[in-house]
């Protein structure tokens, strides 16, 4: 378990960086080392049409950190800002204030699969392997291993439009994992999973946590708390560790 206050341990992190990250064969982070820190993150959205437009503050100073070898949960009611905070950490959404320190490259599994309907499962692996800087051999090894682990090998030639919701979600998760990142951000990654896949998902996450990966997971279910090393609750725009 990391202390969370040791910024000296954040040597591998950059602020706002998008630089190329370590290759997949890079050694995992030493346990306890902080791999992501969000400090005082603020975000608001404009709602309505002028002159009735008003600003809704979703995040008013959210703080959290994730260390290598930790499985951290982020819980909160619907609309509390969990996905917003996740997207700000990834860099998909602008923030109004605060600081984010994170590795240049991470794994991100969005709540709804962000994929191309007309491309096949294998083509998605090829596209993301390019983005992660993996060569063909690394791609084939990673894709083969994840297809097997999540048990959807037989769909590798299928277009996304032909897949069930659960299989799409398996691909969504596999794309986030294929480069074995230092930091993995999962936004309700198991929606649509059957019970067996759901259990397999937790086994996979715990195995990677034990290998030194830092994992932040948005979760709704109280029953999952026992699987998590720490849990942040997001309420009224702020996080508290529970």
């Amino acid at each position: 378990m990391c202390s969370g206050g040791d910024t000296g341990k954040a040597a591998a992190m950059t602020i706002e960086t998008t630089a190329q990250a370590p290759r997949p064969e890079a050694p995992p982070e030493a346990p306890g080392r902080c791999v992501m820190r969000a400090t005082g993150v603020r975000k608001g959205f404009g709602r309505g049409v002028w002159p009735w437009r008003r600003r809704v503050e979703v995040l008013t100073g959210a703080d959290l950190h994730v260390c290598a070898g930790e499985l951290v949960g982020l819980v909160g009611e619907n609309g509390s800002g969990k996905s917003t905070l996740m997207q700000i950490i990834v860099g998909l959404l602008a923030r109004d204030g605060g600081e984010i320190e994170r590795p240049g490259q991470l794994g991100y599994c969005p709540q709804s699969p962000m994929v191309w309907e007309k491309l096949t499962v294998d083509e998605h692996f090829a596209l993301f392997a390019r983005a992660y800087g993996m060569d063909d051999e690394e791609r084939d090894r990673a894709a083969g291993s994840l297809l097997s682990e999540l048990q959807f090998e037989r769909y590798r030639g299928y277009r996304i439009e032909a897949l069930s919701g659960g299989t799409r979600q398996k691909l969504n998760l596999a794309l986030a994992l294929m480069h074995e990142p230092q930091l993995l951000l999962l936004d309700e990654p198991y929606s649509g999973f059957d019970w067996e896949t759901y259990l397999r998902f937790w086994e996979m996450s715990e195995r990677r946590r034990d290998a030194g990966m830092g994992i932040l997971i948005v979760s709704h279910f109280l029953a999952e708390r026992e699987r998590l090393d720490r849990v942040y609750t997001l309420k009224d725009g702020r996080t508290s560790e529970t």
Binding site: V90, A94, M114, E117, A126, R130, Y132, L175
Partner: protein
Amino acid sequence: MSAVAQVGGFFVREHLRARLTLALLVAIPVFFVLVFASVLGEFADALGGRLSGGGATSAISAGWAAAFLCGALAFFEVSSSRGADRRLAAAGLGAGRVALARIAAAIALAVVVSVVAFLTLWLRSGIAHPAHAAASIVAFALIYVGVGALVGALVTGPLEGSLLVVLIFSVDVFSGPSMTGSDGILAHGPTRDATKLLIAAGTGQSSAAGEWLAVAAAVTIALTVAFGAFWLAARSRSRS
């Protein structure tokens, strides 16, 4: 193979796998050149435009078919793939390379669309200046890549965006030099100079170097705008 070429190849495949898109690639140029051309000629006569004779109306119809298809394709390239493109950019490819791949795919599709439009025109009526006509049709297509991509970047709703593309196209078609004798602000649409070239090619006249340069400038601006639009749609916004 470079990342841009490989990713661009996947983006082209994504469009060509849609059966309806493939059908429209053939149906729209055929409809415009074989059916719409004569109607346009009558409109132009009524409005005092420059279209004269079947050669000019068929030629300009081929250009507009290419423009309409490419505008719609570029719009949906941005609109339907925004989330996935941004995820790919954030994963490490970067918004610039995603935008370049999108531009490469859009240009490849524009060439395919232009070839279909040109062949339809050639089979329908023959062309006095085939090389000039082909270059002009490609110019129409590329200019509307810019229009479609810009609308896609600024308007997120598929219905609103596609209606806006159709509106711009309609204003461009019906207020351009081919359809009206007036020289008001609406007559300066994005394809104004390409229209002049295509009418000249259809009627066997040559065009001045200045007109070619004006079309080259319009295409360059359109592709620059398209790159900016694709980049805007794919970028990972890390600062407010």
